[in-house]
Amino acid sequence: MTDHAMHAPAEDHGQEHLSDATYIKIALLLVVITAVEVAIYYVDWFHTSGTLVPALAVLSLVKFITVISYYMHLKVDDPRYRYIFVCGLILAGLIVAALAALMRTHKIDYALRFITGA
């Protein structure tokens, strides 16, 4: 935590302003990425080659980062906001991954067996 306690009180005037044109360009980028995401879903090659999931993961990650960086101004705003949010994000990400992995290895077969009476 950077410390500013000794500094003269400063008002948080928010981030530096980006121009409206920039915001619109970013929106266009987001739309294009979404279109690409949907498009590759309909390309068989991505399904058969196993590249669909990684491709989708990367594309949505780019969208995610773009929105938080520019629309939520994390890129230009005070870095401490970034630390706070990324902290929560990473913690949540790790716990989601751990939970999914821990649960997955156990239940499928047995649940199936139970339901089907096999």
């Binding site: 306690a5 000794m6 716990i95 649960m103 339901i115």
Partner: protein, 635 residues
């Protein structure tokens, strides 16, 4: 006794500018962190006594084998409510009381960052506590254990409303804890007095910060777990029902993702409290301040990665068990560092054994036992023998009683004079400590033996030939002693309030900012916001060079306490934000809504209560209050 001899007795200056309003209405609408802290403390103390009473009933039933004093059903309600009450209604709000009262004073703030949100937290807590406890009057107290493992909580196995009271009550309490924690974090980041750098924060404030951050990240998990349970019980989904494709293990994971950080949420405040007390009564700064801070952060961080050690016996598989065993053992390292640093603080110090110090040292000594048995439980195969036995009960009571309760009692003896302006009777205090100490060990140490002898938890009865009778009798006797010690404490509080000697501003010759102002502090806390130049600021003021051995009074530098006294004498016109009744109304709206939900369980209907009348009224009240609150001028 009241104050240290060389310390001139300071009579609090009369403050006439902002005379605190009195009367019940002023308490209901207050947004003063000190009053909110006191109300937290008092209500939590009530629940501590209630939870203790429930424990005594449990011990009465178990005092001898095959006892039939209490029915199985009632016993199951008692242990569920004992756990729930102690964790959510006694210890957490008590620590919240300390956070509220002490933390803003320690950082030199006038109040918390969002005073009305703070009041809202308090009232939501009260409503949540009421919701859980009115279950007794319906004869439907929660009976599924404080950890509410699915699928026992499902409608197939718990058709009554018992689980609903618990599920909805905890959800409401979660709102209170989260709201309070957001507030504390912002307060500590933003309302520090000039010069109060992060590494000058009093260690108790550090605890407040870390614990609040833990609450912020831990509670959403149980919120989701409870929401899924609500859907299972109310809407017929099957998140935890195997037959519907769900898995009860999901509950355990989500619950312990919250539940394990919760353990540290309960213990770290006590660590913070004694980290203030031990240096003051050793007249020596905290040994290894920065290491203590990093250790706390490390414990908090690791605390999120060890939840599955509560699940070593559910069959997660060898790899998961091994990984979580390693992570759990890792936590032992920063915890050990803390213990050693407290002992290091006492070494070469000048120790004075007030009651507060006795409880603090008691914590250091007794927590070690709980910590070491905790390491035993990290050894997965050993845990397979000890899990769900009295060995575990012994372990976590050494942590939560020998740790948290000792710490909180130490805190009450330490900051009580600040809050009430009067001193406790030290002689009775010492009786209180030793009775607690003996009763505590008599109650909980033999539980290790019972656990080794294979007595499982949550047994309402046990067979004569189990061989558990004698130690259970000892434990029950110990519980009586422990109960008696609380009577002594109550008497001591009564005596303090009625006949306590005036405390003066700084009865303990302490180092942090709260001791620079009168006891009790004025409504506005600091007549002028202090400027901080050192950690242990008041010691610097009083003795120079952080009470260097030269005893040189550094007269050139203005002293924080003097500045406050002079400013106070000049009748400062500190404008305080207005009291507001909207937090109370909003909390009432939330409470009404929750109560309405409780009676809407479609499986169990009584009269017209299943109609969403209360829900609609509650939501309307909530929305109205929130808008009124948002548009109410703050001051």
């Amino acid at each position: 006794m009241a104050s240290i001899a060389h310390q001139p007795q300071i009579v609090p200056q009369p403050v006439t500018t902002t005379k605190p309003a009195t009367g019940i209405w002023s308490w209901l609408t207050t947004i003063d962190h000190k009053r909110i802290g006191l109300m937290y403390g008092i209500s939590a103390f009530f629940f501590l006594l209630l939870g203790g009473f429930e424990a005594l009933l449990i011990r009465a039933q178990l005092a001898q084998p095959e006892n039939d004093l209490i029915s199985a059903q009632r016993y199951n309600e008692l242990f569920t409510m004992h756990g729930t009450t102690m964790i959510f209604l006694a210890l957490m709000p008590l620590t919240s009381g300390f956070f509220n009262y002490v933390m803003p004073l320690q950082i030199g703030a006038r109040d918390v960052a969002f005073p009305r949100l703070n009041a809202f937290s308090l009232w939501v807590f009260i409503f949540g506590a009421i919701i859980i406890n009115i279950s007794w009057f319906f004869n439907e107290a929660p009976n599924q254990g404080w950890y509410g493992y699915a699928p026992l909580t499902g409608t197939a196995w718990s058709p009554g409303r018992n689980v609903d009271f618990w599920m909805i009550g905890i959800q409401v309490l979660g709102v209170a804890s989260m709201a309070a924690s957001f507030n504390f974090v912002v307060t500590i980041f933003n309302l520090r007095a000039p010069g109060m750098k992060m590494m000058r924060l009093p260690i108790f404030t550090w605890s407040t910060l870390i614990v609040s951050i833990m609450i912020i990240f831990a509670f959403p998990a149980i919120t989701v777990a409870l929401l899924l349970l609500s859907f299972d019980r109310y809407a017929g989904t099957g998140f935890y029902e195997v037959a519907a494709g769900g898995d009860p293990l999901l509950w355990q994971h989500l619950f312990w993702v919250f539940g394990h950080p919760e353990v540290y949420i309960l213990i770290l405040p006590a660590f913070g409290i004694i980290s203030e007390i031990i240096p003051v009564f050793s007249r020596k700064p905290l040994f290894g301040y920065s290491v203590m801070v990093y250790a706390t952060i490390a414990i908090a961080f690791l605390g999120f990665g060890v939840w599955a050690h509560h699940m070593f016996t559910v069959g997660l598989g060898p790899t998961a068990n091994a990984v979580f065993a390693g992570a759990t053992m890792l936590i032992g390292i920063p915890t050990g560092v803390k213990i050693f640093n407290w002992v290091g603080t006492m070494f070469r110090g000048s120790l004075r054994f007030t009651t507060a110090m006795l409880f603090a040292v008691g914590l250091v000594s007794q927590f070690v036992i709980g910590g070491l048995s905790g390491v035993m439980h990290a050894v997965v195969p050993v845990d397979a023998q000890q899990n769900d036995t009295y060995f575990i009960i012994a372990h976590f009571h050494y942590v939560l009683f020998g740790g948290t309760v000792f710490g909180l009692l130490a805190g009450i003896y330490f900051w009580g004079p600040k809050a009430f302006g009067k001193m406790f009777d030290e002689r009775i205090g010492k009786w209180h400590f030793w009775l607690t100490f003996v009763g505590f060990n008599l109650t909980f140490f033999p539980m290790h033996f019972l656990g080794l002898a294979g007595m499982p938890r949550r047994y309402f009865t046990y067979a004569e030939d189990s061989g558990w009778g004698p130690w259970n009798a000892v434990v029950s006797f110990g519980a009586l002693v422990l109960g008696f010690s609380f009577l002594v404490f109550l008497y001591n509080i009564y005596k303090m309030v009625r006949h306590g000697e005036p405390a003066g501003d700084d009865p303990w010759d302490a180092a942090t900012l709260e001791w620079a102002i009168s006891s009790p502090p004025p409504a506005y806390n600091f007549a002028v916001i202090p400027t901080v130049t050192h950690r242990d600021q008041l010691w610097w003021d009083k003795y120079g060079d952080e009470h260097g051995h030269a005893h040189v009074q550094n007269d050139d530098v203005p002293k924080t306490a003097e500045i406050q006294r002079e400013a106070n004498a000049a009748h400062p016109h500190v404008h305080l934000p207005n009291p507001s009744y909207f937090p109370l109304l909003a909390a009432a709206g939330l409470g009404t809504f929750a109560l309405g939900m409780l009676f809407m369980n479609p499986a169990i209907t009584i009269g017209l209560l299943h109609l969403p009348v209360l829900v609609i009224v509650g939501v309307a009240l909530l929305i109205f209050s929130v808008y009124a609150w948002a548009f109410e001028p703050a001051g």
